[in-house]
Symmetry: C2
Subunit: 250 residues, 2 copies
Amino acid sequence: MTHQPSEHTGAPPGYDPRAFPPFAVTVDLAVLTVRAARLHVLLVRRGEAPHRGAWALPGGFVRPDESAGAAARRELAEETGLSGSTVRHLHLEQLRTYSEPDRDPRMRVVSVAYAALLPDLPEPRGGGDAAHARWTPREDAAPLAFDHERILADAHERVSAKLEYTCLATGFCPAEFTLGELRQVYETVWGVPLDPPNFRRKVLATPGFVEAVEGPPRRTGGRGKPAALYRAGPASALHPPLLRPEGRRP
Amino acid sequence: MTHQPSEHTGAPPGYDPRAFPPFAVTVDLAVLTVRAARLHVLLVRRGEAPHRGAWALPGGFVRPDESAGAAARRELAEETGLSGSTVRHLHLEQLRTYSEPDRDPRMRVVSVAYAALLPDLPEPRGGGDAAHARWTPREDAAPLAFDHERILADAHERVSAKLEYTCLATGFCPAEFTLGELRQVYETVWGVPLDPPNFRRKVLATPGFVEAVEGPPRRTGGRGKPAALYRAGPASALHPPLLRPEGRRP
DNA sequence: TCCTTAATAGTCATCCTGACTATAAAAGGG
DNA sequence: CCCTTTTATAGTCAGGATGACTATTAAGGA
């Protein structure tokens, strides 16, 4: 990137280097969490045209002195009210960039989309007036403004895929969690039930995925035998991967 | 996205919707091919400051009326002289967007990077004055202008990963190819030798990956027993994946 | 003709996974 | 207090997939 306009770039001859085509650059965030065994996404209600009153993914303009990733973290902090330290450390994944010329009816805007995973469910308290932010079940997130349904679908697919070969799932969990909760994350994001013994075997057989927490098997909450607690381990990748059960042969 | 500047986006209060921060948007292309059992990348020599005279990835400004993907295809056609039809059909993969504020010393430029795979080795004949385009062995592609070494590294990693779970490798091959040539693609991109019988077994066991070509086992070229010919099949994904031999346990 | 090279056919043991069965430890209802 | 329900956890078992090898076939070159 950052090319000089010149003949071979396709710019018109005699093109002035400073007279580049002007674009606005924004970020859009697909912030996901697992809540009550359902995948939720953070949505805001638009207060401005176009799509005034419609639900949309949070986002905003990239400022002149920050990268798109920095803008995404700033917007995330503003929308959720999470502490700077929390936002600074959580996983932000750049999805892709959407640049169709007609994405925005007012002007040429390209948007860099990010996906973020949040542990539990801190009700969003927008930094300023953002009581307009709400957790919405993923399947209820329609219609959305602009091409945000597409972005959300891409985010969902990317997260589903990354669960297969990374330890990302622990990002959906609190600091200490049970294997049942971790399994719930997979089942919720993938939308399929998993066999508890097999899931347990696989997770425990992957070095560095999770670490046992010493204490008693406290923290039941519901019925059933109390489960042991684990925390996220140092590993970041899964070898071999934990594949979605899709190629099922009966 | 395409957001209206407003208080909750982080824009200054009273911000005028049209006075968005101005950015230039470019595309950069990591065009890869396998040539003489080595991975090559298409580089151009810069004729303008900054980095005048340095090698760089081909690319250029996105025009006001085209998407980044369309700009990438246009630039690719201009740099390689490939036919419009060829360029229109080959696989272009959006990598990610690079937006560090200091990427370009002259102005604020964000660049959408793409990776492309080309079959054999059509010596690049730039559309206009682009005799400045050259195939360069991937490991010789340094130093490069701007952050292009980083982009190239990201492209290499992305392609390596996609070879594992997609049929992308056939994109490096001509219309008809031998399993040895296909294996060569994997070995070259991954930089590791693969066991020929095992590779063959895996490829043939994946439905739709390749289809046998009827004719005689023509097209030898070198020594050894002549190999049967295949063409790309209809499948696009590999289930289960063909994983890189990295987690080797001795 | 002998040697080298590369494709292709098989073998074998191991690892991983999906499908199940069984046991343990809680909560809740009668 | 006993019984049922629920969830966690321990094992078992067969089949598929893979890595490591051996063997055979069919060219080219010296």
